[in-house]
Structure formats: structure tokens, C-alpha cells
């Protein structure tokens, strides 16, 4: 590894479907993204080796830049040579591969067990079994369940610091017995993150059986949760697990300055760094093929949620199982049968890299994406409430909002990416929307500790795609009645005025890097701009521009298909600047008549706007807004469900 050098940095991110590579180098004294390349990951058939895909993508990057990056032995050249061959740093992150199968032990399901599961949610783990004092199974059944779960790791939590140790040691004893019965080569490692005073006793129980990691108590007091220590140790266990699994991780890890860091951990490092160093509340959502991650910093507290049951490829069917078919249908502007949706998700799971080629498939894909992001948001809310106990909106005020993953950031149409973020996250007031199509963020997370200046500089100099700034109305505006009055004064002093009707979006084209002064008023009763009647601010543009969203929050998506068939094509056209792609009337026929989905050959092509048959009325078609108490109750129920999942 090159120390304290300021040469080029090469970063690779290995996803389940794509391997992405970015090259950062100094331009005028600052690090910038100078080149990128992407290709298919090769962790699957027929290669089973991530380094094959890496070599291919490096070859492409070399052909783009004219720089030699690898030597004849397929090793990345470090440090950078005087002829500009090689790089000073190579870092690697990965979200591909099997997660750690984990048994989580805690005393009480709603307290220590829930905290243990939340700590595990920050790493690539699959909860294979749980044990608690509420478990009504016999000791024999519990021990057999642990053995049959074939865990890679057992996470033991429980007890508050200074509290009683006996119940915890009883449960730990069950795990000890299970390990004694297992072949020594197949014993899981132990991660202890419970009552600190019981740590020596737990270490004594397991030290002759397996490796024991000890972290701080995830629940030092009943009303206090501290997940960071356990998450750090989980990251270490994951690294060790990957290194021993083959699949080229050992080869790549040996070349990288940071080993192969879990992509989600890299997000967390970056978010934590940005939250603390720049004091911003930032959110990154990455919907991948097999794994999805939501990482956010709120009030300088970073939190990352990883879900292996949410994804658009390998995990597409798991996502459907997680959110339910009605949730997907809620985001579709046409009638669909159970068979059509399950065929779609099962085929996506079988061929995870494929992308929608017709309009019907596009809506199906984006329905999964929107539902998946909302499930991530719901899972993250308990942590956000901890950072902001007065949280009443569905989403705290994050700025910027960053989308990542091919489905979200790789649409090739910035309007689509922006609309997906707006629909799924539903920000209120002002938010900057960005897309990370090049997997720059995982790279920057990996660099946060070894080259922090590169992180700030690469972000500052356009490493991410600026989609634009959104200004969104809270509350429920009346459909097609004036809801926002917009005044924009551009750089040349020219004034642009626009009145936006409720239920619609409007885009003022403003290229990236340009700024204008905006004066927006919320019109009508019960609506605001994140609690304010008027906003006056200077905002910057993006590949979409300035997006004014007068649809309302929560998003008043029509409850009936015909209503959505009017709303959704309009919204897509309003944000993307394209023509309205109307929903074919045959797609709206009752299911018995529409049992054979139309092929794309029959799918509509862009045409004029359809007749407006749907007119939403407040309190009818619109989704009712939850009161803060209802939202809190919902959060608690969701938290419990997540904990028990």
C-alpha cells in the first residue's frame, strides 16, 4: 500500500449482477472521478470467481483511459509509476455472496433480542434461528434447532450492564451444548454483545470450543441501545468469512488496501463521515439485485439497514413475499393477476440481470422498486425516531437523497430516477436528488479513513449525477386546483412565473451547476412546504432540473386502477419531459377478461394524453394521512415485526 501519496485511486464494487470500477485522480489539485467502467459480475456460473469480472472491467477502463492498470500477472500495479501506469490505492467493496447464517440469542424478544437483530441488520447476515426466554420449546428442541440452522455465527445478547447474569448464562449454556455436539470444524463463531459483567463467564464457556468476539452491550440499559460495537465486530466476522470462502475474494482482498469491505459497511462509513464532518442529514438508498441497503445520517447519528429479502433480481420474489402482492398492485396502473406478478418476480429471480423492455414490465419493475424502498424506510424509522424523538413525518428531512443500484440509478433516464425517489421516499419541502450510477459511494466509504480528502473532493466535483432539486408539497392539495405559486429568477434576472395544480409535477429545466432564486407559496387549506407557507431560497439544477411536486403527502395514489392509469403516465411524462404513454384500455379490463397480458408488440407507444376520466377527491381516492400517534403506533408494530422477522 502506498502511504500518503496523492496519485490515482482505483475502486471496485462487486455486486451480485454488476462489477463497477471507478478511477479517481487529481485534477488541478483535487480528486475527481476521471473514468468509470462496469460489466457483469462473475461470482456466478460459469466462473464462480469475482476476479474474472474485475480483470475484464479493468481492461475496459484501460482501453478508455489509455492507462495500464494491471501487470502481466493480473495484479493491479501499485504504487502509481512515473509513466502513469498503475494507481496509488486500490480499494474493493462487495455485496455479493452468501450472507453469514446467524443465530441470535436474547433474553426478551422486544428488548435485547430486538436490539441484537437490529445490530445484525447492519451487516450481511441471514437470521437462521432465534432463542429467548420466551421460547416455549424444550431444551432438546432448542439445541436441535440451533444445530439444524447450521450457523456461521451465534450472536448472544441479553441483560443490562450490572443486571442479573443467570438467565443469560442459561441461554448461553444451550448454545454451548449445541457447539459441543457439533463437529469442531463446523462450529460457528460466537459474538457476545450482552451484559458486560457476564462477558468473562461467556468467554470461559466458549473459549475451548470456538473463536469468541466480544463487543459492547447492545442494550446497556433498558432505555438505551448501542449497536455500533456489535456492528463493528460483525463486519470483522464477515471479512473473515468472505476471505475463507474462495470465489476470488482472497485474490482481490490481497490487492486491496482495505481488504474486501462489505458495501453496506462502506455506505455506513461514508454516511457517518459526511454526517459528522459536514453536518448534513443525508440518505442513501441502494436497491441491488440480491441485497438492498438504506444508510442515513440524522442529527449526526448514522444508521444502516441491510435487507437480503429486498432486491430487484435475485431477491425479487423474496421482496414480493415480504411486502405482499397488494402492495405491488397498489403501484400498478393496470389490473394484474397473482400469476402474472409471481411469474414476473420468479423470472427476475432466475434471470436477475434482465431489464424491462416494454411498458407493462417497466411498471411491474418500478412497483417492486417503490415497494422495496418503502419497506426499507419503514425498517429504518425506529432508528430515526431515536435520533429525532419528535419525528412526525414519514421521512425526516434529509438533504441530499441519493439513489443507487442499477434499477434506481441506471435507468438512463434521469426523470425516471427522480420520480422513483420522490414516489418511494416522499420527501416534503426541499431535497437535492442525486444518483450514484457508478458505485462511487462504496468506493468513497472505503476511502473515508485512508484518504478522507478524496471523499470530499470527489463529491464536490461531480462524482454523483445531480438529478436536481425537488420542492414538494405536504398535505393534500385539491386536484387540478392551484396548489403552488412558483416564481423563479434566473441568473440573467429574468422572472419566470408558474402556477402548479394539485396532483401534478412541473419541471423547470436548469442544468447541473446553475443556480436560480426560487420563491414558492403553498396555496390552499391544509397544505404547506414542510410546515411553511412560503419558501424563498437559492437552488441548483441537475439533469432533470427543478422539480416542483404538488401531488401532496402522503402521495395520493388512487385506490382504483383506472385512477392510477391516469395519474402515473402523467407523472412520468411530467418529470421526464416525454410524451404521455397511455395505459391501454384492455389492461384495465376486469381480470377475467384480461387474463392474457398484452405483449409489448401490442403495448402502447407514446401518444397524446388520454381522456381524464379520473378526478381524485379529497378523502376519497386519496390515501388518508396518519396522525403522529398512529404513525408512532405503526412504527412500534413494525419495529416488533422487524425484530421478530
Amino acid at each position: 500500500m502506498a502511504e500518503n501519496r496523492n496519485g490515482a485511486i482505483l475502486a471496485a464494487d462487486f455486486g451480485s449482477v454488476h462489477t463497477r470500477l471507478v478511477l479517481l485522480d487529481t485534477v488541478d489539485g483535487s480528486y475527481r472521478l476521471v473514468a468509470r467502467a462496469a460489466g457483469r459480475s462473475t461470482a456466478d456460473f460459469p466462473f464462480n470467481d469475482i476476479s474474472t469480472g474485475l480483470t475484464r472491467v479493468i481492461e475496459e477502463l484501460s482501453s478508455i483511459t489509455g492507462r495500464t492498470l494491471m501487470d502481466g500477472g493480473q495484479q493491479i500495479i501499485t504504487p502509481e509509476r512515473t509513466d502513469r501506469a498503475g494507481v496509488d490505492y486500490f480499494v474493493a467493496t462487495a455485496s455479493t455472496g452468501r450472507p453469514l447464517r446467524t443465530v441470535v440469542v436474547g433474553l426478551v424478544p422486544e428488548i435485547s433480542l430486538a436490539s441484537g437483530i437490529r445490530a445484525a441488520a447492519g451487516s450481511y447476515v441471514e437470521i437462521a434461528e432465534t432463542l429467548s426466554l420466551n421460547d416455549t420449546r424444550s431444551e432438546e428442541e432448542q439445541v436441535n434447532a440451533v444445530i439444524q440452522a447450521v450457523p456461521d455465527m451465534v450472536l448472544i445478547t441479553g441483560g443490562t450492564d450490572g443486571g442479573a447474569q443467570e438467565p443469560l448464562l442459561v441461554l448461553a449454556g444451550r448454545i454451548q451444548l449445541a457447539l459441543q455436539l457439533l463437529d469442531p470444524a463446523r462450529r460457528p463463531v460466537i459474538l457476545y454483545a450482552g451484559n458486560t459483567q457476564a462477558a468473562p463467564a461467556v468467554q470461559r464457556m466458549f473459549r475451548d470450543l470456538t473463536a469468541v468476539f466480544v463487543a459492547g452491550n447492545v442494550r446497556p440499559a433498558l432505555d438505551e441501545e448501542a449497536l455500533e460495537g456489535a456492528q463493528l465486530q460483525l463486519g470483522r466476522a464477515f471479512d473473515k468469512f468472505k476471505e475463507n470462502r474462495g470465489m476470488g475474494f482472497d485474490t482481490v482482498g490481497a490487492m486491496s488496501a482495505v481488504g474486501v469491505l462489505p458495501t453496506a459497511q462502506s455506505y455506513n462509513l461514508l454516511i457517518e463521515y459526511l454526517g459528522k464532518a459536514q453536518d448534513v442529514d443525508v440518505l442513501v438508498v441502494d436497491v441491488g439485485s440480491a441485497v438492498s441497503t438504506l444508510s442515513a445520517s440524522l442529527n449526526r447519528q448514522a444508521n444502516t439497514i441491510i435487507r437480503t429479502d429486498i432486491g430487484l433480481g435475485h431477491s425479487a420474489h423474496a421482496l414480493l413475499d415480504t411486502v405482499g402482492i397488494e402492495t405491488i398492485q397498489h403501484w400498478l396502473p393496470f389490473n394484474t393477476s397473482y400469476d402474472e406478478i409471481t411469474a414476473y418476480t420468479r423470472n427476475k429471480t432466475l434471470r436477475p440481470a434482465t431489464i424491462p423492455q416494454n411498458l407493462r414490465d417497466l411498471y411491474l419493475e418500478h412497483a417492486l422498486l417503490r415497494a422495496g424502498i418503502q419497506a426499507l424506510v419503514q425498517a429504518a424509522r425506529p432508528a430515526w425516531r431515536k435520533a429525532n424523538p419528535f419525528l412526525t413525518t414519514a421521512l425526516p428531512t434529509f438533504d441530499p437523497l441519493i439513489g443507487a443500484g442499477a434499477g434506481l440509478a441506471g435507468t438512463g433516464n434521469p426523470g425516471y430516477s427522480a420520480l422513483l425517489l420522490l414516489d418511494a421516499l416522499q420527501p416534503e419541502g426541499t431535497a437535492t436528488l442525486r444518483a450514484d450510477a457508478n458505485a462511487l459511494l462504496p468506493a468513497l466509504g472505503a476511502l473515508a479513513y485512508i484518504k478522507p480528502e478524496a471523499v470530499v473532493q470527489a463529491l464536490e466535483y461531480g462524482g454523483l449525477e445531480e438529478l436536481g432539486t425537488s420542492i414538494s408539497l405536504s398535505g393534500q392539495p385539491r386536484h387540478d386546483r392551484a396548489a403552488m405559486r412558483i416564481r423563479i429568477r434566473n441568473a440573467s434576472g429574468q422572472l419566470v412565473e408558474h402556477q402548479l395544480a394539485g396532483g401534478h409535477l412541473w419541471v423547470y429545466p436548469l442544468p447541473p451547476g446553475q443556480e436560480v432564486e426560487v420563491d414558492v407559496r403553498a396555496l390552499g387549506r391544509g397544505v404547506s412546504l414542510n410546515g411553511k407557507a412560503r419558501l424563498r431560497l437559492k437552488v441548483s439544477g441537475g439533469s432533470v432540473g427543478l422539480i416542483f411536486d404538488a401531488r401532496g403527502r402522503p402521495l395520493p395514489l388512487a385506490q382504483d386502477v383506472r385512477g392510477r392509469a391516469t395519474q402515473m403516465p402523467d407523472w412520468l411524462a411530467e418529470v421526464s419531459g416525454g410524451e404521455v404513454m397511455p395505459i391501454d384500455e384492455r389492461w384495465l379490463a376486469p381480470l377475467a377478461e384480461a387474463d392474457t397480458p398484452l405483449t409489448a408488440a401490442e403495448s402502447p407507444t407514446p401518444a397524446g394524453k388520454p381522456d381524464r376520466r379520473w378526478r381524485g377527491r379529497r378523502g376519497q381516492a386519496a390515501t388518508r394521512s396518519l396522525t403522529p400517534e398512529e404513525q408512532e403506533q405503526l412504527d412500534e408494530e413494525e419495529d416488533l415485526q422487524n425484530a421478530l422477522r
Binding site: R40, N144, L181, A343, T349, I355, L359, D361
Partner: protein, 359 residues
């Protein structure tokens, strides 16, 4: 970068396939490197860990101190025991005793307790291919090299079977297989159907004792039924109502009557194996068919299969590979290939929606 998915469909090729005991089984390999193996030959045997049975022996014997059990034990760790055998007591023949509820092995005695592991289930791994062992994985299994036809599918119901290849009746499909035909042609056979599998087809396969089915597709709603079906089922295209591609059908039609290995592996997101059909074919002395080409970049003239609607399952030739992303009808913009289809159509297809066949 013009590398796309591969799903090998090859009429004459060399394959190397692992034949391993399931994960978490203990076993031994029954073949050596260089050995020629037949379809049904057992190459590895192992045991699946069985459940543990806890016996609170001290309590059953009404002992006041758990350690007193040690003096009454009739077995020790490692002993094999039969169901009903006395494990502890003053007299193994009569009086208060602790009897083993299962056949198995004593794995633990202490603290007033005896733990018996029930006899593990035995598993055997067949070669499933006529070929030669080229590598031995100690305690796990072997790698076998074989020559023949290979068709990789997209989904299987996690069963493996070997049987003669048959085509479904041309007119009525699977539903046209009746009892009078079954004994002669279809019982225990691997049957190729050109049509999507329906509930009636699944019922017919079970009723008529068909060993395995190669189908292009299946209703997604039949998933659970198919998983629990006694026959091995492979889908070559996917879920929904999709027809079999001519590429696959042409190969299978030429091999009717041959012994066929249907390895209907259930795709697992953490496993890289694929469901596949392999049919051994004889090679002339010294002849060795080419292995699948795995490092194929897309190029003009290459034969590809389209994997998404509206041309899902169609096979065609690449006409053009534009260097910049192309706008699709649905508004997405991505790298595409222009593909010439047998119908005369020349659609632009995202590279992500193409597969190559391994040649």
C-alpha cells in the same frame, strides 16, 4: 462491456461436473481419480446429521445427585445403541432403567443426562454421467468429465432422475398420454413437452409414473405443487406461458430413446449450479468434443437467445452492436444489440436481455 449471460445449449460438448455429498454431511468417496464411472455408479456415501435426543436419566432414576448417574451408566459416549436398549440402571434387564427411545449413538453423558444422536440418514451420490473421474474431493465427492449433449434450463424442482428420453404425443401433449401407452413408452421416462406445464399436465405426469419432464415453462401458481411433485421437472424458459425454443427442441428431438440425466437443481441465490439435461453420447477413439466457450464477447453474427418479453425465448443473430445507449419504447436508455429473428423482425434488445449458448 459486451459480455452477457451464458446458458449452455450444446449438441456435442465436454462437461465437467461435481458430484458431491450435500453440505453438512459426513462421508467418504468411493471412486478414484482416473476411474471410469457409469450412470448409476455410487461415487460417494455419507450421513446426514440426525437429531439429538436428551434423556434426563438422573431424574428418571430418581437420583438425588446428578453425579450419581455415573455409577449406573450402562453405556459410554461413542457406543451404538438400539431402540429400547437400557442405557442406565442397576440392572440392564429389570427394575428402574433408562431406555433409549431411538437407535443411534451415545454422544454425551454427564450432569445427570444422556444424549443420544439418532442414527443418521444415509445418502449416496450417483455418478449420473458416463465418464471419467478427473478429481477427488476428499470426504465430499468427485469431479467427472463426460461427453454428450448439454441443455441448461432456468428452473428445476430439486430432483434428479435418469431415464430414456421421449417426446410427448404430438397432438395432445402430456394430456394425451394414456394408460395403454404408458407401459411401453413413458413409464420412468424423461418426457419433453413443447407446451407450458399446467395443473392437468402435472397430474398426468404423477398418475402415469413419468420420471421426469423437460418443459419450456409453467404457470407460476403451480410452483409449490411442482416442488412437491415426485417427478423431476426442468423449465428451459421460465414461468408463464412460454414455448420451447427451436434450438433446444432440435437437439432433444434428435436424441429420443437415449438415457438422459435430468438434474433439476432448484436455483439458489447463494449457489452457482444450474438445472440441466445431459445426454451421454459416444465419442470415437481419441475424439474429444470442445468444452463450452465461457469467455465469449458479443460480436456481430453470434447466435443469441432473448430472455425478456416481447421476444422472450426467440433465438436470432446479432446484426449490430451500437456503442451508445439506445432509447427503448418504455423510456429506459441502455446498451442494446440489434438482433435478426427468423420472423424477419430486427428488434433492438438490451444486452442485459441476451444469453449466449456456449459456442
Amino acid at each position: 462491456m459486451p459480455y452477457v449471460d451464458q446458458r449452455h445449449t450444446l449438441a456435442w460438448t465436454t462437461v465437467r461436473r461435481e458430484r458431491l455429498l450435500p453440505d453438512h454431511t459426513y462421508g467418504e468417496v468411493n471412486a478414484r481419480a482416473g476411474q471410469h464411472v457409469n450412470l448409476r455408479e455410487i461415487v460417494a456415501r455419507g450421513s446426514v446429521p440426525a437429531r439429538y435426543v436428551f434423556l434426563e436419566a438422573a431424574r428418571q432414576l430418581r437420583l438425588s445427585k446428578p453425579e450419581d448417574l455415573n455409577d449406573l451408566l450402562l453405556v459410554e459416549a461413542g457406543d451404538r445403541v438400539q431402540a429400547g436398549q437400557a442405557l442406565a440402571g442397576k440392572n440392564p434387564e429389570r427394575g428402574r432403567r433408562v431406555l433409549s427411545p431411538v437407535e443411534g449413538v451415545i454422544v454425551y453423558t454427564g450432569e445427570g443426562r444422556i444424549i443420544v444422536q439418532a442414527t443418521p440418514e444415509r445418502v449416496e451420490v450417483e455418478a449420473g454421467l458416463v465418464g471419467q473421474v478427473v478429481e477427488v474431493r476428499p470426504e465430499r465427492g468427485v469431479m467427472i468429465e463426460a461427453f454428450g449433449a448439454l441443455i441448461q434450463g432456468v428452473w428445476g424442482n430439486n430432483r434428479r432422475m435418469i431415464g430414456p428420453l421421449r417426446l410427448e404425443p404430438e397432438e395432445d401433449g402430456l394430456e394425451g398420454i394414456f394408460d395403454d401407452l404408458i407401459d411401453r413408452q413413458y413409464s420412468g421416462a424423461v418426457v419433453v413437452t413443447r407446451r407450458s406445464l399446467k395443473a392437468t399436465g402435472l397430474m398426468m405426469i404423477e398418475n402415469q409414473g413419468i420420471g421426469g419432464v423437460i418443459a419450456p415453462s409453467m404457470d407460476a401458481g403451480l410452483y409449490e405443487q411442482a416442488i412437491n411433485h415426485p417427478a423431476a421437472i426442468i423449465l428451459t424458459q421460465g414461468f408463464g406461458d412460454l414455448r420451447m425454443s427451436t434450438q433446444v427442441l432440435n437437439i432433444l428431438e434428435g436424441l429420443v430413446g437415449r438415457q438422459t440425466t435430468l438434474d433439476a437443481f432448484l436455483p439458489d441465490r447463494w449457489d452457482t449450479r444450474r438445472p440441466e439435461v445431459f445426454i451421454n453420447l459416444p465419442a470415437k477413439a481419441g475424439e474429444r468434443p470442445p468444452e463450452p466457450r465461457t469467455a465469449q464477447m458479443l460480436r456481430e453474427g453470434m447466435t443469441v437467445r432473448i430472455t425478456r418479453a416481447p421476444h422472450m425465448g426467440s433465438v436470432g443473430q446479432i446484426m449490430d452492436l451500437p456503442k451508445t445507449p439506445q432509447l427503448l419504447d418504455n423510456g429506459l436508455r441502455t446498451l442494446c444489440a440489434q438482433v435478426s429473428l427468423a420472423t424477419g423482425e430486427t428488434p433492438l434488445v438490451p444486452l442485459a436481455n441476451l444469453e449466449v449458448f456456449g459456442r
